[in-house]
């Protein structure tokens, strides 16, 4: 078993109205960032899990997305593996993301 650190990104489907993205877009324009053409808001979910292989870890994460993390009607998901260096610092965790 290896420990894997995954970042699951869940974003609204292209073409779907994203009122949060629209509001932020508007706000950025008010701040002078007039080059901004589009903003969409999703969420990132950091998942640590144990699996035999990267493939198995990905398979598990995909199933989590289909069942719970994303709504298939309105959202798309993508899964990225993070290296220990990419992990956000966590309060109360002295563990450096030990593998294996």
């Amino acid at each position: 078993m290896n420990r894997y650190h995954l970042e699951v990104r869940v974003v609204p489907r292209p073409g779907l109205l994203d009122p949060q993205g629209k509001a932020i877009h508007h706000s950025l324009h008010s701040l002078g960032f007039t080059s901004v053409d589009d903003v969409r808001v999703g969420r990132a979910i950091m998942v640590d899990l144990d699996a035999d292989s990267e493939d198995q870890a990905r398979e598990q994460a995909e199933e989590m997305c289909r069942k719970l993390l994303a709504n298939p009607v309105t959202e798309d998901f993508s899964i990225e593996f993070l290296s220990v260096e990419e992990l956000p610092a966590r309060a109360g965790s002295s563990e450096g993301g030990s593998h294996g």
Partner: protein, 232 residues
């Protein structure tokens, strides 16, 4: 006649729904979400609220509550299931109703009375209303913006599954009629079989004059009426 009102952690309209079913003559029973059996009930109400704090998406976690297997089973066998507000969101998440409820177009939590037009009075939930009757009910939600793909919307329209639409006071679809951005002004739908209803506005909060409207009575009375007819 027995009506189950399922209480999830974060439900806040469970007592309203229990009082509503009792007002129209049914015996109401609370069923805690950790139960796995509904008992010998004749209809099920999923009440409004903020189950699991709306974490992830409204209804996304509640739909995996232990009781939901029994609710799905009950619905698949033709039992009447009504989901109000958060109950509607849960029914979409669990797949008993098509589509999804997105964040309101305004990005605001909307909490005010709204006007609904009865689009289909030929369901077990609406038989006490007249076609095109305009009802007044409160709504209170942040995520009531109904969305479905074009094909699903066409099917809902074609099969008369749109039960309630948001309208203006005079019953029209004009400007100011849509409080949350819902596709086709959809406020409530039924499944293809007609035994599962989801709606965002609150008939359970429109049951007494003192609350400002009694237009919700027809919904609960319709269900009881339907079941009484089926039993005789």
């Amino acid at each position: 006649m027995k009506a189950a009102v399922v209480t999830f952690p974060g439900s806040n309209c469970d007592y309203d729904c229990l009082k509503s079913v009792e007002q129209v003559g049914a015996e109401g029973v609370f069923v805690w979400h950790r139960e796995t059996d509904l008992g010998d009930v004749d209809l099920v109400v999923l009440p409004g609220g903020f189950s699991y704090g709306d974490y992830l998406r409204p209804g996304a976690i509640a739909r995996f509550s232990p009781i939901m297997d029994a609710v799905v089973d009950f619905a698949r066998k033709g039992g009447p299931v009504a989901g109000i507000c958060n109950g509607f969101q849960i029914l979409c998440e669990v797949g008993l109703l098509p589509g999804a409820l997105l964040r309101n177009e305004s990005l605001k939590f909307q909490s005010h009375d709204c006007w609904l037009r009865v689009e289909n009075p030929d369901t077990m939930f609406t038989r006490q209303y007249a076609r095109a009757q305009v009802l007044r009910m409160p709504l209170a939600h942040a995520d009531g913006n109904y969305h479905a793909d074009m094909e699903t919307l066409a099917r809902l329209e074609g099969e008369n599954q749109i039960v309630f639409r948001y309208v203006t006071r005079d019953g029209s679809l004009g400007e100011g009629s849509n409080p949350n951005g819902s596709a086709h002004n959809i406020a409530g739908i039924v499944n293809a079989e007609g035994n599962v209803l989801g709606m965002m506005p609150h008939p359970d909060r429109a049951m007494e004059e003192i609350l400002g409207s009694t237009d919700g009575v027809g919904l609960f009375a319709s269900m009881v009426d339907h079941l009484a007819g089926a039993a005789s």
